[in-house]
Symmetry: C2
Subunit: 200 residues, 2 copies
């Protein structure tokens, strides 16, 4: 039994490192994995390794790609004087799905967060400034989360970019689509009111 | 980009097979895994395989163990005339944590669920009847979830066991309706065990 508990704990500890997996979830998944055939676990584990092997980080935008540079950075038809700055590779896909933006991206791979040891050198700010200077960028859109870290990072970047005579914009604050007023935080509502647009 | 999306989808599809992982969670975890070093992903994947390799199913109770029979089934000091019937190996650990029951366990490794193709032959009912007949069991405690499938399975088992002149009991009411065992606090479970009532 002792050794059995150790195997279980090994899986639980591994799974808890994943985002959004707490102790109870890790425990549930661990018991599930142990109830599978060894071959099935092997297949799952190998698919994780294989997928990871096939992917690298784009040396230009910092997004995920199978070949460097990624298909967005190497696409001649994209608007090359607009850069949309995001926190992570995942946000690039999310914005692409909206179908509105046709320019280039830059993933910071993080946000400024001094308490977690994330300073200016730990996220891809130098790379961003290098690209802005080299690409003759006309506009930088800061598409960062409206959290404390996102706001702080946006503020810092805006201060850095402003002297370069480049337009800096940010995502509009407002009501999410399909939301009822009663579930919206007062601060969101305040922003939505402050930035109200004329109708029609 | 095409091949990159394929790797991503490979991970997402693998993760979605795990219990409690929906599409959004799988996506979040997949992006996280792809952002790790290849070595880190390898370590995680290998720890899953290693843990699974070290574990087998106890041929007596159906619980998880590193050596067969498990430490509970081979423990001379456990009360051998009482069997606690549970749905899964995980429930054995949950009940052990409550510290009230000192007898043996029997995991059905499932519940009767005709809609999902789980009939009498698909769960470990024959094995249970064999043990009841051979171990001179005095009491069978049906510690099944208070869900439709749990109640149906308990009712079916009670009907099978009653003619054998064996006491059949169940967990005390106090378990909130529609709750699965794995989310119940050990103290609640302890009370439910202590106040178990005879069936029918």
């Amino acid at each position: 039994m002792g050794s059995y508990k150790k195997s279980l704990q090994l899986i639980i500890d591994s799974l808890r490192l994943l985002p959004g997996i707490g102790y109870k979830s890790a425990e549930r998944i661990a018991y599930h994995l142990l109830s599978l055939e060894e071959g099935q676990v092997r297949t799952l584990a190998n698919s994780l390794i294989t997928a990871r092997q096939m992917i690298c980080v784009c040396s230009e935008c910092g997004g995920l790609t199978a070949s460097d540079p990624c298909s967005i950075c190497s696409d001649e038809w994209r608007q090359r004087d607009a850069i949309c700055v995001v926190e992570s590779a995942r946000d690039i896909d999310t914005i692409e799905k909206s179908g509105v933006f046709k320019g280039l991206y830059h993933s910071l791979n993080g946000l400024l967060n001094p308490l977690q040891g994330k300073g200016v050198e730990q996220i891809r700010i130098n790379e961003l400034m290098f690209r802005i200077n080299n690409l003759k960028v006309a506009e930088v859109i800061l598409a960062l989360s409206s959290t404390v870290e996102g706001e702080a990072t946006a503020l810092y970047l805006a201060g850095l970019i402003a002297p370069l005579n480049v337009k800096v914009s940010r995502l509009a604050a407002g009501l999410p689509a399909g939301t009822s007023l009663e579930v919206v935080a007062p601060s969101t509502l305040a922003a939505a009111l402050r930035h109200r647009t004329s109708f029609g």
